[in-house]
Symmetry: C2
Subunit: 280 residues, 2 copies
């Protein structure tokens, strides 16, 4: 496994690989890897000749009052995990933006809903850094988790709109035994908050069950989700939304495929989770 | 020469060429080609194995009151000119944007000055379509004219900021015998406007002469430029600016290299020209 810091080194190695006809898969991460990330890497390993994992805590996707400074980091551990799952290149850039940086990739509308309301500049930072990562690596495929559903939708939209020619692969959410979606931010939770956090998944399951037994009214389903979440006495709901999976606009009735997404604050820690509600 | 319409056809041919180690040069145009465009193509021909010319009147770079509908078009003539100068591929897309398009590439600050003031959404359209063209063609080099100086600066900034790995080559402005910078929009000029239009170049030359003989004060030089332009009785100055070539911010004194840029309306037709003022 190769640990690289410089864009040009990454570009050179990947260009050489591509010239030999090898396919390239990219897994963009902010490090502090967990099973969720590793499932993306395994999928990338299965589908590509060369697997690149980027580890970069991207400052432009954090709001001014968010957790950039204390975001958890453990490069040594990340590297040994990457080695175990057969990564070819770990790219850990020292710096991604030069001082003259003025360019932003903006996806309108999709980024103004759900998480975009409480994190207004977040997705602009995500799309811009992902465009930069794609610019350097030029992967055939890039891997993202369903846990960050809106991010995956936004990146897929960007990739298509800018003709980037990268296949966006979205992999299932990986969960702890008690149902909590894995996230690097789970380490922020106090023991008490941690015991209540699985209620997010339980709320999603309550909605799935209602849809399975015929309920179609969004208002009714949402009320039930909020009721389950109310048991999380240490939590504060940021949003519970049921939206069209193409536009991320709210719907009144469950369509053949709707996204139920939610965000809950435990203190300053914001957890998100989601499920696709399908009428089968 | 190959005339292609579909993105995927272009992508396939260019990918095959690159796999055989051939370099790719792209000349993005809106068609109605003149000597200015052809000089870019000749330079691309000299520096690349495969030369791609795109011909697409990009709607997103026109303002709501601008000349999208009447922008001059002559594909047959363009194709025969491209054949003469040895173009390999002409890409004439039928459609670049799908109905779900929501993504914009925005370069801040540089686009808010000079032409950006009277054309507030123009550069966003330019950078977005160029990002798309680069996404499909993935050229090694792309060619732009110095006549559109701000456009070249903005595109260079975007390319660097998004790590696109494309070398932006800027070629000198090509002029008519009387000094008027070549532009597809020159056909809009009435005969009377056409006789006055070379005053733009004469105003630039007056400034060059002042700098050559020691003048450094921007206010003095600008006053002289405006004096020369005043002889264009059918024209109306949009702006005359002398700016830093890195930031495009106004300067008070000529530095080692400053950009003098101007725009003049003749009726609804807006002409631009510029020169780099250098202290030798």
């Amino acid at each position: 496994m190769n640990l690289l810091k410089e864009k040009q080194e990454v570009r050179d190695i990947v260009t050489q690989a591509r010239a030999r006809g090898r396919s390239v898969g990219l897994v963009p991460t902010m490090g502090y890897l967990h099973e969720g990330h590793l499932s993306l890497v395994r999928q990338a390993r299965a589908e590509n000749d060369l697997v690149v994992v980027s580890i970069y805590v991207n400052p432009t996707q954090f709001g001014p009052t968010e957790d950039l400074g204390r975001y958890p980091r453990d490069l040594e551990r990340d590297l040994s995990l990457c080695r175990e799952v057969g990564v070819d290149i770990v790219w850990n850039p020292l710096e991604m933006y030069d001082s003259g940086h003025r360019t932003w990739v903006v996806v309108e509308e999709l980024t103004e809903r759900l998480c975009g309301i409480s994190r207004p500049s977040h997705f602009r930072g995500v799309t811009t850094v992902v465009a930069k990562l794609f610019g350097v690596v030029r992967p055939d495929r890039a891997y993202f988790g369903q846990k960050d559903a809106q991010q995956a939708f936004v990146i897929r939209r960007m990739t298509q709109d800018l003709d980037m020619g990268v296949d966006i692969v979205v992999c299932p959410t990986i969960r702890e035994a008690d149902g909590l979606a894995m996230s690097s931010r789970n380490v922020y939770l106090t023991p008490e908050q941690r015991t209540q956090a699985p209620l997010l998944r339980r709320a999603l399951m309550a909605a799935e069950e209602m849809v399975a037994t015929g309920e179609r009214r969004v208002a009714t389903i949402r009320a039930r989700v909020e009721e389950v979440l109310a048991a999380a006495t240490l939590g504060r709901i940021d949003y519970v939304e049921i939206v069209n999976t193409q536009t991320l606009q709210g719907v009144e009735e469950i369509g053949s495929e709707s996204l139920l997404a939610l965000a809950v604050f435990f203190g300053k820690t914001r957890l998100i989770d989601n499920t696709i509600l399908r009428i089968s």
